[in-house]
Symmetry: C2
Subunit: 342 residues, 2 copies
Amino acid sequence: MSRVTIREVAARAGVSIGTVSAVINGKSTVKDATRSRVKAAIDSLEYRPVEAARRRLQTPREKSIGFIIKELHNPYYADIIVGAQQTAEVHGFRVICMSSEQRFEYEKEAIQTLASKDVEGIIINPALGDDPDVSHLEDLRERNIPFVLLEGMRGDFPASIVDVDNEAAAHGLTRYLVEIGHRRIAHFAGPRVSMHAGERLDGIRRALAESGLVLRAEDLVHAGAALEDGYRAGIERFAGRGPERPTAVTCFNDLIAVGLLRALHELGLRVPEDVSVTGFDDINVARYLTVPLTTMRMPRNEMGRQSAELLIRRMRQPITVPPERITLETDLVVRASTRRLA
Amino acid sequence: MSRVTIREVAARAGVSIGTVSAVINGKSTVKDATRSRVKAAIDSLEYRPVEAARRRLQTPREKSIGFIIKELHNPYYADIIVGAQQTAEVHGFRVICMSSEQRFEYEKEAIQTLASKDVEGIIINPALGDDPDVSHLEDLRERNIPFVLLEGMRGDFPASIVDVDNEAAAHGLTRYLVEIGHRRIAHFAGPRVSMHAGERLDGIRRALAESGLVLRAEDLVHAGAALEDGYRAGIERFAGRGPERPTAVTCFNDLIAVGLLRALHELGLRVPEDVSVTGFDDINVARYLTVPLTTMRMPRNEMGRQSAELLIRRMRQPITVPPERITLETDLVVRASTRRLA
DNA sequence: ATTGAGGTCTGAAGCGTTTCAGATTTCTGT
DNA sequence: ACAGAAATCTGAAACGCTTCAGACCTCAAT
C-alpha cells in the first residue's frame, strides 16, 4: 500500500493537481462545488500530504531546536527545558524534546531522528560522560548541524559546552560540612558511568583532604540517581549500625537525599540531630520537605537559557568559529537538614 | 543569504551532484581523492543537506509520534511519557515531546510544529479541558493526521480518548475519608480552567452528599497545581485558625498536598493527628515523604502505553473507524497521612 | 451576438535531493 | 600496446508538492 499522492486525488476529483493544492492550502480561488468535490476525494482516499514535500520553498519554515535529555524522571530537567524554551521563543524557535533515558543507544537514535526532522540545531545532555565513542557528534559536525553539549563530557572533544563546575560545587558543599564540625562524612554517589558523579566525588575528596580527612571506603556508597536508590542505599547502610556512623551524608542529588531522609526516618534516626544530610540540585521539592534540604543549587533555568542562547548564536556564526564554553555558578543553600556539631 | 545546495558543492568540487550525494551518504564507490575534494567543498561552503529533500524516497523513514503535554514541571508526566515511549518502541516509533505549559496558544503551535515535522500521529494532553475552540483538532482531522487525546476534554468532540474517571476517583477517595469518620472535609482545588479540577470537585461533592455532608464554601480553596500553590494556600487557610478547622483536606494533586504538608508542619499542626491530608496521582515522591501520602494513584505508565497503543492502532485503520474511548482505573493508596477519627 | 473583466482551472517548471543506467576512466593481464 | 573487467563518475529522471503564467469560462454590459 503505497502512499496516496496529490495526483491520485486530482484524478479522483477530476481536476488538476494545482487545484487540489489550492484546496489543501485554503486558497479562495476555488469554486465551492470544486472544493467539495476535492475534499470528498481527499476523504475517500484518506489522503495526507507529505509535509516534507510541501515546505521546500513555501512558508518560512517553523524553526525548531531539538533537546535531548538524559532522563525524564528527574524534575531537575523540567526547569532546564523551560529555560531553553523561554530563550528559544524569543528568537522564534520551538523546542522539541527527546529523552535518552540514560541509554547511549537511544541518544544516538534521538540525534538521528531530530536531524531527520530538520531541526536547526540540537542541545544534548549526554547520557554518558566518559564514553570514548563520539561518532554521533562527529556525524553531526560533518553534517554541519550545530549542537551544544549541556553538562559536557570528559575528554577534550571540541564542542560548545554549557556546564557547571561540579568538582568545585561538591568541594564547596563538603567544605561547609567540615566547617560546621563534621569529621566523618559519607557520600551516596551517583551512577558509576556518570561523569558528574565522578567530579562530585573528586570535589568531596579534595575538600576532605584539605582538612586531613578521608572518605572511608565503607562511607562511599554507590547509590544511583533515583529516589528509590537513595532509600534502598539508606536502609542498607544505616540499618543496625550503632553510633559507628558518619555524622553527615552528602548525596549525589536531591532525589537520593529524599530517599535517604525517608530511610533514616524509618530507622528512627533524626535529621539533622543524628545525621546531617545534603543534596545536590535544589529541585523544587527540596525546600518543602518536612526537613528542608541543605543542597547545592544548580542554576537550572540559566542552564537552559544559556544553552539555547549559545546554540542559536552558533547557528548564526560560520562553523569555523572555535567552540565556546560557558561555566555557570552554583549556590550553597543551607536549610534544616544540616547542623553544626557541638 | 540563500541556502547552499548540493549543486554548488558539486561545482566547487568540480564533480557532479551524483558524486556529492554519494559522498554524503558514505557510499564506497568514490575515489579517496574525490571524496576529500568534495568534503573540502562541503566544509568551505558549510553545506548542510536539506533533510526534507532527502527522505522522500530513500530509507524507510524514521517513524515518530508527537506527544504534547500540559506542563513539564509535574513529575506526573514523566511516567506517562515513558510509558508511551515503551509502547512506541515496540512498534518502531520514536516519541518526540513538546510542552504547552498550560497555554492553549502553545498547544496549537506545537501541533503545527509536529505536523510540519511529518510525525505519523500525535498524542495530546489538552491544555484546556473545556475550551469550545477545537479548530486545531479539526484541522488535524482534515489533514488526516491521527491523534489521540490523553485525558480528554469536556463536550463531545468525537476523538479517540484515553482517560481516567476523575469524578469516580475523587468520589472514592472522599468516601474513604467519610468512612473513617471525617465529617468536615476541605478541598484544595486545582486550576479553575482544568477540567479535572472540576470533575474531582464533583466527585467529592457527590460523596459528601451521599452522607448528608456538604463542602462548605470556606473549605473550598482554589489552590492551583504546583507545589508553591499548595504551600501558600495552606498557610493562608490554616494560619491562626483554632479547632474550627476541617479534619481532612483533599488536595487536587500530590504536589499541592506536599506543599500543604509543609505549611501545616510550619504551623505546628500534625498530620494525621490534627489534620488528615490526601493527594492525587501518587507521584514517586509521595511514599518517601516523612509522612507518606494517602493518595489516589493514577495509572500513569498505563496511560502512556494505552494512548500510544491506541494511536498506533488508529494510524493503521481507515479513518472512518469510529473513535474509541479507553477509561483506566485508579487505585486508592492508603498511607500515613490519613487517620481514622475516634 | 459580442466584448471584456473576473473568476476558475490547468499543467509545466522547479524545490534539493537520491537513484541508476550508462559513459568514462583506470587497472590487469598478456 | 591492447582488450576487457573493474572502478568511478555523470546527469537525467523522479520524489510529492507549490507556484504561476496563461488558458478557459461565465456573465453582465453593450
